[in-house]
Point group: C3
Chain length 422, copies 3
C-alpha cells in the first residue's frame, strides 16, 4: 500500500458519455451445434473479449496461446501493464465440441517460466500443467504443446500453475467452453464472463501481486464499468451466463436485478434439475465456474454486478479518512497552505462527487461512473447490465431503456394525515 | 485505520447484567394468513426491531420510509450516528401478502441523494431504484413514491442504489417479508434477522465507509451481543429464521448449536425439497437471503452466531501487538512512564480480561461480554441465542436455562492407570 | 503486522528433498464396521495426524484430551509455539460408532480457562461447552468430564468456546468421525483433513491471534506443503475426504485436479443424492464440514489445494513492494549501503527465487517449495496431492508419478503458416 492510496486529493467521479459505453453491444448468433471436427462455428458470446481461433489438422483441433505482457485499458483513464494471452486479459475463450481431440501450443513471451493448467478438464496427468510436478516450466521464448481430449461438455478454465501469485494477479486466466456433441436442446443466448480483482495503487501502471485485500480494480472480462459491454436478450429468451472466477482471493456474489436464476452447471458438470436452487445472487468462489440460466422476463437494463459494495466501484482509496458528518472548513484552510487547491470531499457522503468533474490523478479511475438516462450512475468495477427488450433489432444498439415509468416525486398532499407517516 | 485502533490501552471485557440482555425477549404470535388487502396482521417477529406500519387505501397497501440520520446504540457503551429508515437500522421490516399492490413513499432527510432498490422483487424496470439508470436520485428533502406489486411470496430486501459504499456502510438496509396468499401450511415461529458489519474506530461515533476489512462492530438487526434479543421456541416447534445480508463485504457463516437445519428458501424463491441440504452453519453471502428452518429439539439457550471468530466479539483492536506468551514486565515499566496506569494484557490469552471490570475508553465496547448463569460469556458481536423450553409461558421471560446438568469436574481417581491418559 | 513482514530481504524459495515429503505416505486399511462397544478399530486415515486412543469402560467409550502448549513444526524451517490437544494441532481425531455413549475427560494445561464445544453433535445443553452459558470455564490444572451420546453418524468437530479468538487461532481444533452402526455400504478410502490459517510474522514463533487478514501460514492438518502427507488411492477406488474448517476467518475453496467430486455430507448430516452437485472445487466455509467423495479415475499425483493463490504458498511478506517490471539496480545500490548484501527480487515475477537457495531468516519458510520430478514445485501452504496408482503396493511409498508423457517442447516447424499463430 503506497502513500498515493491514502489520499483522495484530486479524485472524483467522472461520468463517461453513454454511447462509448455501448460501443460494442454484442448480439448473440443462433447457437449452432459444432461438429466433432472441422467447420466449428463459435456460438458463445464474450463481452469485451473474443474466441480463440482454431483450425482442424488431421482430426485434431489446434490452438495457439501466447503468454504476453501488453498495455490493457481497464476503463478510459486507466491503462495497465497486464500479463495475459494473445495480448488479452482474460485470454481468448477456448471453444470446442465434446469429444474433440485438441492440441494447444503455448508460447512464452514473459520474463519467467510459465505453464497452463486446464482447470476442470480430465487430462492425462502429464498434461496437467503443474510446474515441477507434471512438466518443467516453459522457459521464456519456448513453445510447448499440450495434447488433450475434451471428453466432457461443460465450462472449464485455464491459468498458469507456476508463480500463480504473480501471473494470475497480473491477468493470466481464461475460459474453456465445450459444447455438447448433440447440440443445445433449445435456443439460448450464451455468454462467458470472468471476474477478476487487482490492487492497482492510484497512479500506478501495474497490479500489485502481493495484495491480499483492498482490491480496488474489479472487472468483468478485464473491464470495469462503464467500459463493460452489456449483455442483450429479448423478452422470453433463455439466457445463460458462464461465470468463472480465477481471481486471487475473493468469492464474488454476482447479483442480477429483476430476475431469479438457477445454477445449472459448475466446472464439475451439470447440476441435476432436482438439485437446482432459485437465486438472485450467485456466490462464485475462487477456482470455480457457475453457469446460471434464466428467462428474460421484462424489458429493462437490468444491472448484473458483484454485491460487495467496494467491488461495484472504481479504484477508491480505501485508506482515506472518513469525513461523513465532518466539518472540514478548518482542515481545508490549513491544508491548502501546503497543498494548493486542496478541498476535502465526502462530508455529506460520496455521491456529491458525481456532480462535478474533478481533476483525476494521471492514469486513475477513482470513482469513475457512467452516464445514464437519468444522470450519473455512480457504480464502477464489476458492474454491467443485461439489456432486455421486447424486440431486439439485430445489429442495432439497444441504447438505454426508458420505456417504463420511473419512480416519481410525490404530491405533498399524499402524506397528510395518513396515519403511517413517521 | 486510526491510531486509536492500534492500542488496547485501557480496554477490557465488561459483563452486563443478565436481565438487561433479556429485557425484550420476544414471543411469537400465532401466524395469521394476511388477507390480500386490508386488515393485515403482522406475523413475522423482528428481534430488536419492528414491522413497518401500513394501511390500505383503495386496494393499495401504503407504506412510508424516511431516510434519516440518528443516534443508534449498538450495545450499552457504544452509540453511533447511523443512517437508516425511520430512525432504525436495519429499517423496519416491510410485511405484505403475495399479490398485493403496494405504494411506498420514500422521504429523504439525508444530506445527499438516495434511492431504494427492491432486492429480489420483480419490479417494473422504472421502479428498480438505481440512480442514473431508472430514476434520478431522490434529493434531500424530497419524497418519491414507488409503485410495485409483490407478485411472489418470499423474503426480499431493500437498500439504496446510489453511493452504496457510504449509505449501506452507515446502516441503510431492511427486509421485506411477503407471506403466501394461501397462508402457512403449518404453525411456524417466524423470525427476521439482518447481519451487518461496520468498522467503528475505538472511541469514534461513526462507522468508516471506506473500510474493506477489519470490521469490528458485527450485528444482528443492528445490535451486538449482549444487546441482541434472543429468539424463543418450545420443544417441537417449527422455527424459521430469515437471514439477510446486505453488509458491505463479508459472507457470514451463521451457526446454530444443538440442531441441524435446512435452507428452505432464498431471495430467489423456494428451495425444492429435493435440493435441501442439512447444515449446522449456513453461509449467507453478501446480497443474499437464506431462510432456514428446523424443529426445536431440546431445551437450552442454543447459541446462534457467526462462526468467524472475530465476528463473535466486540470492537477488538485488531492491530494491537500479540502478547500471548510474552513477559510484559519490562514493557509495562517503560510504558507506564509515558502512559500513566498502562498495563499490558493478553499474555495468557484474552479471557483474563473477563474477570476484571476494566476502564473503557469513552463510547466503546471493546471486549464487552455478557453475564450468563455460569459467569461471563466472553462472546460479542453477531451472537444471540435460541431459547428453547419444554413449556413456554406467553409473556414471561424465559431467563437462563439451567435444567441440564453441566459438565463437571472429574475425580482424580478417574484418570489413574486408564491406559489412554497421555 | 510487524516491520519484519514488510520486507523480503533474504527470503527465497527453497526446495526440500522429495523423499522427506513422502516419508509418511499413509495406506488406508480396509474399513471395518466398528462394533457399538469394545474392540473398536480405527478406519479413518489422518494425514500428518492420528486418531485419539479410547477404551470402553462399562459400556461407555472413554477418551482423554489434554489442552497443551507445545512446539509444532509447520514445515522444515518453521517451528511455532502452538496450542492444541495432546501436543497436536489439530488435536487427534475422535472416532466412534453411531449410538455409542462416550465420556471425554478434558484436562487444561493452558494458562487460561478453556472448554470444549462439540460442533454439530446433538448434546444435552449442559454438555455444549460454552463458558458462562452452559458451564464455568475449565481452570488451569483442572479436568472436566463431558458425557455425550453420538446419536448420529457423521463428521463433526471440537474446539474451545471461550476466548476463541486466541485459542482457535493458536491451533485448538479437531475432528470427530462417527461411523454408521451398519458399517459402510462399500469399500472407501476415508481421509480426514482440517484447514487452518495463521498469521506468523516472519521470524516469530507465535501466531498472532489478532490477525483478521494477511494470513501467511496455511495448513492441512497443521502442516504446510511440502510437509503435507499425500493421500493415496488406486484407480477405481472410492475416496472420501472429510474436510473441516474451524479457522478464524476464511472460507477455503479446496480444488482437486483431474477429477470431479460431490459433497455427500456436511456436519448437519447426509446430503440426499437428489441434492448433490458435481464440483471440482468445494468452498468450505468457516464452521463447516464438507465431506466429498469421488472415484479415482486416472494415475497421477493430483494436486488438492486451496485455490486462493496466497493460500497455496508459504509465509510470503504480503506488504512488500511490488517489483514486477521494475529496474531495481538503483535501489539496490542505495540500499546495499544500509543493508549489506541487499538484493531486490521479483522484478521478473517470483519464480526466479525457486532456482536459488536463498538465505532464510531464522525460523521462517518464506516461499519454501517442494522438490518434484520436474524441478521445484513452487507451491506451499494448503497444498497436497492425491497419489492415484494403477496398482498400489501396501506399505510401499508410491513416489512420484512419471508414467504419463509430459507436455513437450514444440518443433518450430509446427507453427509456420498455420493461420492461427498470433
Amino acid at each position: 500500500m503506497t502513500l498515493s492510496r491514502r489520499t483522495m486529493l484530486g479524485t472524483g467521479l467522472v461520468a463517461l458519455a453513454g454511447k462509448r459505453v455501448l460501443a460494442k453491444a454484442p448480439q448473440t448468433p443462433e447457437p449452432v451445434p459444432a461438429p466433432a471436427s472441422g467447420g466449428h462455428k463459435p456460438s458463445v458470446v464474450v463481452p469485451n473479449g473474443s474466441v480463440l481461433p482454431s483450425k482442424v489438422v488431421r482430426g485434431v483441433r489446434v490452438y495457439h496461446l501466447v503468454a504476453t505482457e501488453f498495455d490493457h485499458e481497464i476503463a478510459p483513464g486507466l491503462v495497465i501493464k497486464a500479463w495475459g494471452y494473445n495480448n488479452a486479459t482474460p485470454g481468448p475463450v477456448i471453444e470446442a465440441t465434446e469429444g474433440e481431440r485438441v492440441r494447444i501450443y503455448v508460447t512464452n513471451k514473459l520474463p519467467e517460466v510459465t505453464t497452463i493448467h486446464w482447470h476442470g478438464v480430465f487430462v492425462p496427468f502429464g498434461m496437467d500443467g503443474v510446474a515441477g510436478l507434471t512438466q518443467e516450466g516453459i522457459g521464456p521464448g519456448k513453445t510447448f504443446k499440450y495434447e488433450l481430449t475434451f471428453d466432457r461438455a461443460g465450462t472449464f478454465m485455464y491459468h498458469p500453475h507456476v508463480d500463480e501469485m504473480t501471473q494470475i494477479a497480473l491477468g493470466m486466466h481464461g475460459m474453456i467452453v465445450v459444447h455438447p456433441r448433440s447440440g443445445e436442446s433449445a435456443r439460448v443466448r450464451d455468454y462467458s464472463l470472468m471476474t477478476h480483482e487487482m490492487m492497482v495503487p492510484i497512479g500506478a501502471r501495474r497490479a500489485d501481486p502481493l495484495a491480499m485485500n483492498d482490491f480496488n480494480v474489479l472487472t468483468f472480462n478485464g473491464k470495469a464499468f462503464p467500459a463493460t459491454d452489456p449483455l442483450v436478450a429479448q423478452v422470453g429468451d433463455r439466457v445463460r451466463i458462464r461465470i468463472g472466477n480465477l481471481g486471487p482471493m475473493d468469492h464474488h456474489p454476482i447479483h442480477l436485478h429483476g430476475h431469479a436464476f438457477e445454477v445449472v452447471a459448475t466446472d464439475g458438470g451439470t447440476v441435476p434439475p432436482s438439485a437446482r436452487v432459485p437465486e438472485t445472487t450467485v456466490i462464485v468462489p475462487v477456482g470455480t465456474v457457475r453457469v446460471v440460466e434464466f428467462t428474460a422476463r421484462a424489458a429493462g437494463d437490468w444491472p448484473l454486478h458483484c454485491h460487495m459494495t467496494h467491488h461495484a466501484m472504481n479504484q477508491m482509496g480505501h485508506a482515506a479518512a472518513n469525513l461523513v458528518g465532518a466539518d472540514p472548513a478548518g482542515v481545508d484552510a490549513k491544508l491548502s497552505r501546503v497543498v494548493p487547491g486542496y478541498m476535502t470531499m465526502g462530508q455529506a457522503g460520496m455521491h456529491e462527487m458525481s456532480t462535478m468533474r474533478m481533476p483525476q490523478p494521471a492514469n486513475a479511475i477513482s470513482m469513475l461512473g457512467g452516464k445514464g438516462p437519468y444522470g450519473v450512475i455512480d457504480m464502477g468495477g464489476m458492474f454491467t447490465t443485461v439489456k432486455v427488450r421486447d424486440h431486439l433489432v439485430p445489429g442495432q444498439d439497444p441504447g438505454w431503456y426508458t420505456g417504463s415509468p420511473a419512480a416519481g416525486e410525490a404530491s405533498p398532499s399524499d402524506l397528510v394525515g395518513d396515519g403511517i407517516t413517521p
